[in-house]
Every structure is written in C-alpha cells, then in structure tokens.
C-alpha cells in the first residue's frame, strides 16, 4: 500500500487503532466506573488509585477519559457516515444531472456554506434540546454541504471522460453509470473531506459539551470533563488539561490520516480539499 509509506498517514493509522482499542476495551481497562461518585474523595490529586486524580464528585478522571473515547469515536463515525452519504448523493445528483437541478443545489450548498458550522450545530441544538443524537445530526448537517461541494466538483471532472461517454453510448442506464463509474472514482477525494469533517466533528462535539449543550452530564465525554475541570483550573489543572490532550490526540490522528490520503492521491486534489478545510 503506497499510503503506508507516508509517515504522517502511518502515525495517524496507529494512533486511531490504539484509540479504537481503548474505546472497545473501555469496560475492561477503565479502573473504575466513569459514573461512580465518591464524595469522601473529591478533587483528589493523582495517586496510585486514581492516576489522574478525581473530579468534584470524586469520579475517577482516567476512567471518564477512557469511556469518553467511545463517545468521541461514535460521534466521528456517525457524523462521517451521515454527511458522507447525504453529501455524496446531493453532490452526485447536482454534478451528474446538470441544468436547473444543479443550479438550485449549488446555490443551496453555497448558502449553507455561509453558516459557520459550529453555529449551525448550536442553533439546531438550541431549538431541539441536546442529546447525543441531536449533536450528531446537527454536526453532520453542518458538514454535508462541504462533502456535497467536493463530490460535485469530482463528478464534473469524471463526467466528460471517455469511458463514461462510452458506457453511455453502449446504453448503460444513468443509475448504473453513477454507481459503477462515478461513485467509485469519486471516493478518494470525498473520503479526504470526510476525514477532515470527522476531525472537526470531534472538536464541535467537545465545544458543544463544554458549553453544556452537547451530550448531557454525567455522560463521560471529553468536552464534559474539560467543563467539569474549568472551575478547578487553579487547584486541579490536570482534569481539564488531560481531557484536552485526549481530544488533540484523536484530532491529530484524523488530520494526519486526511493529510496522508490527500498527499498520496492526485496532487491536483490538494487545492479542492484544502479549500474546504
């Protein structure tokens, strides 16, 4: 695999694999329950029993961070799947059918791109209350237009190629053409955008949780742990700092993956994928 010769890509894959293992094995490797409170032992400094100390309810910070890996990965995967499938269909339809369908879709995409993604998610959560599902839907909706824009650009470059013309000439139906030629060829650049979306989705979820609008406490999300530690920044800085480092590790991994894919793919894609960052 040529991808694995890219050092950044390799580091990204290794980091993500480790995080995946942590997420799957959370029940076994977490020293305690992430929700178990111990009011006799609140805000404890790091010790053998609590490697990263405890929070204001005496919950083990390390265990909360380990379980938080699950929620973050869940958000990343769900947002990626949702925005990828929606965005690809919208972009493919716009690029492939052209005409007024394309004009209308493109202007809708442009309008949606004007919204700061985080703000869009914030508005949706504000109107409908916050839960893991709302957060995922909100962030995915914010990223769908970005995927759609890239998908359309790719489809436009594939459409005039000779093999597509040839397939059409021998009577292949539009749908078959789309799924046999257009979709597979557009996957790599779209996946690059999706990786970046997943990275940003994790930051957005953390931001929403930090504002108290994400996954509701006491759920152990990294954003919640940072918010919990904010009031005790002076006395127990480790709570907030360690959770932030967890977020950064996962986002770095996803960004390295995206950079690696982009560099290895057609260098021409560098610009179009860079633009949507």
């Amino acid at each position: 695999m040529r991808y694995f010769r890219h050092p950044g890509f390799l580091i990204g894959v290794i980091l993500l694999t480790l995080l995946l293992i942590v997420a799957v094995a959370a029940p076994w490797i977490a020293p305690m329950s992430p929700l178990e409170t111990d009011l006799a032992n609140t805000l404890a400094p790091p010790s053998a029993a609590h490697l990263l100390g405890t929070d204001q309810f005496g919950r083990d910070v390390l265990s909360r961070l380990i379980w938080g890996t699950r929620i973050s990965l869940q958000v990343a995967v769900a947002v990626m799947a949702l925005s990828l499938s929606l965005g690809m269909v919208i972009g493919a339809v716009a690029g492939f059918f052209g005409g007024w369908v394309e004009r209308v879709t493109v202007s809708i995409i442009d309008i949606l791109l004007a919204f700061p993604g985080f703000l869009l998610a914030l508005a949706l959560v504000a109107a409908r209350g916050s839960s893991l599902e709302t957060v995922i839907i909100a962030v995915a909706l914010a990223f769908t237009p970005r995927v759609a824009a890239v998908m359309r650009a790719v489809v436009l470059t594939i459409k005039p190629r000779t093999y597509v013309e040839a397939s059409r000439a021998i009577g292949m139906g539009t749908m078959r053409l789309l799924f046999l030629h257009v979709v597979p060829n557009s996957l790599p650049p779209v996946i690059v955008v999706a990786t970046v979306s997943a990275a940003t989705a994790i930051l957005a979820e953390a931001g929403l949780s930090f504002l108290g609008l994400g996954v509701q406490p006491p759920a152990p999300t990294w954003g919640n742990v940072i918010a919990d530690g904010q009031s005790f920044l002076a006395s127990n800085p480790l709570i907030s700092l360690s959770a932030g480092i967890c977020i950064a590790v996962m986002v770095v991994a996803l960004n390295l993956l995206g950079d690696g894919l982009r560099d290895t793919l057609d260098p021409q894609m560098r610009r179009s994928s860079g633009r949507v960052l």
């Binding site: 809708i108 919204f115 700061p116 914030l122 949706l124 409908r128």
Partner: protein, 312 residues
C-alpha cells in the same frame, strides 16, 4: 460597475437564502419548540398560548411568509426573556464580538500568511517540518482548551494578563490589556489553519510553469517566492482568509465564554439556556450574513489584486 451590480444581486439572493435556511433548518428536526421551551409539565393552554405567540399554530408557509416579510423590515421577533426586539439585543452585543473577531483575524493573518509562505519556500527543511507540526497541533486542540490553558499560564501563574471580562470601565489601555489573551488565543488557533492553507496555495503556484521559467532565467529564489509566486497566490490566500473568517466566528463564541466576555456568542449561549430560540435564530442569521458580507468584500478585492479577474 457591471461586476458590482452582479455581486450585489448575488448577495441579495444569498441573504434571502440564509433567511430561508434559518427558518427551515430549525423546523426540520422533529419536536415542538413550545414544548421544549416550557418543559414537560406545561399545561395544554400554556403550550397553545406560546405556540400562538410564536406563530407556530399557523401553517408552515404562512409562518415562512410572515418570517420573511418581518425580516425584510428588520424585525426578527423579540426575546422571550427580556421582551426587547432581537435585533436590538444583537446590535447591542455586536461591537464587543466584532472587536474580538477582528483582532483575532489580524493576529491570525500576521502570523499565518508569512509562516505559510516561509514553509512553502523551505519545503522539506526542518523549519518547515517544525512549523507544520506546531500548526497541526494548533488546529487539533480545541480553541476553548487553548483558552483555558493560556488563562492557567498567563493569568494564574505569570499574572501578566487578566483572565476575565472586557473591562466595561477603564481607558483604552485596560481594554487592550483585557483583549490580548482572548484575541491572541483566537488568532493563534486560526493562524494554524491559515499557515497550512497558505502553504499549499503557495506550493501549487510554485509548481507552475511561469515560476519554472523565472527560475531558469536566473531570478533570485527570494524574489521568485516573495514577489512572483506570492502575487499569483494572493487570490487563493484571500479566499483562505474568507473561509477562516466563518471558522473564527464559531471559535469566538467559545472564546467569549472561556474569558467571560460580553458579545454575540455569550448572548446566543444565554439565549440557548433560556430556550429563547427566536433570539438564537436571529443571532445565527446575523453572523451568517456577516460571513457573506466579508466574503463579498473579499470577492471585490480579488479584482483589485488580480486584474485578470476584474475583466471577467
């Protein structure tokens, strides 16, 4: 002139689209805003009254028509909590946010663009590697975490800057003193994006034939990069600034909360927790329009930077 008119009509269409989208997005997700605003134990009459007050008892197309008509006259509904018009609330907190966003963007541009050019010039060198690794971490740490970490370091440990507020009283100096940390954090986080994007824009230009010709003709490398290539990369770099403006508005909300500064972000957040969703809707609308306005201005600037684009 023709270009300006076309741009203005495009702007009008986009703003209309934004108004439409803010209306429908909020209604697309299932659930009843009235129920959410009043909670689970609300009586049927209270719900009906609030629905009537918000216009939710009417068919969607009537609601939409009224919403657009009111928006055209600058009426975005009023805050359920304070009873004041939403637009008034927003305009009141706009200056604080604008100052923060502008200061942050200046920091980001001043740091990000030169670093992006420098790394492109020295592609593959250790300084390029180092800067790109720092930039990677810069875009990977949540901006609010960077804010908290800087409070910890610069306010609590070193005591250089105040951690909270925007100093309502006091002179210009105290105001600036309060601005340094939030604008610095916002700027550095956005600078990481700008550095990465500027670097790829420059690398792309540096690969073009005209640059190869200039090098072959013996033009000094310094001049090739900072004069010829930079001139060609200015339009993509301006576009990058436009893209990051939207991003930095989102970050500014979080920064305002971390540093307890007044502003649109704090206002929207307060409105969210009060379930004052008309105010939230109006706030989001105003920020989206701000993004569109900034990008239209940049579009106009493209013509000034690149004469080829102004004749098109």
């Amino acid at each position: 002139m023709d270009r300006l008119l076309r741009q203005l009509s495009q702007l009008a269409i986009t703003v209309f689209g934004i108004v439409t989208v803010t209306f429908f997005l909020v209604r697309m997700i299932p659930g009843d805003p009235a129920q959410y605003m009043l909670g689970d134990y609300a009586t049927e009459e209270a719900l009906a009254t609030l629905r009537a007050q918000l216009g939710l008892d009417q068919p969607v197309y009537v609601q939409y028509g009224l919403y657009v008509l009111r928006a055209v006259t600058g009426d975005f509904g009023s805050s359920v909590v304070t009873g004041r018009p939403a637009l008034e609330e927003i305009l009141f907190s706009l200056p604080d946010s604008a100052i923060l966003a502008f200061a942050g963007l200046v920091v980001a541009v001043v740091i990000g663009i030169p670093l992006g050019i420098l790394t492109a010039e020295r592609q593959g060198s250790w300084s390029d590697m180092l800067i790109m690794i720092v930039a990677l971490f810069g875009i990977s740490f949540p901006v609010f975490w960077l804010g908290l970490a800087s409070v910890l370091l610069f306010s609590q440990e070193l005591k250089w800057f105040p951690a909270l507020g925007a100093s309502s009283g006091g002179g210009l100096l105290t105001h600036l003193h309060h601005l340094v940390l939030p604008a610095g954090v916002l700027g550095i986080s956005v600078a990481a994006y700008i550095t990465r994007l500027t670097r790829s824009a420059m690398l792309e230009v540096l690969g073009q034939d005209c640059i190869r010709v200039a090098r072959a003709m013996g033009v000094p490398e310094r001049r090739v990069v900072w004069r010829l290539a930079l001139k060609n990369a200015l339009v993509p770099i301006l576009a990058i600034v436009g893209v990051t403006f939207a991003w930095s508005l989102g970050s500014a909300i979080l920064i305002e909360v971390v540093f307890s500064r007044p502003g649109i972000g704090s206002m929207i957040l307060k409105a969210v927790s009060a379930r004052d969703y008309q105010l939230v809707q109006a706030g989001v609308l105003v920020l989206a329009v701000a993004v569109v306005l900034v990008n239209s201005l940049l579009d106009l600037a493209y013509g000034l930077v690149d004469p080829r684009l102004s004749t098109r």
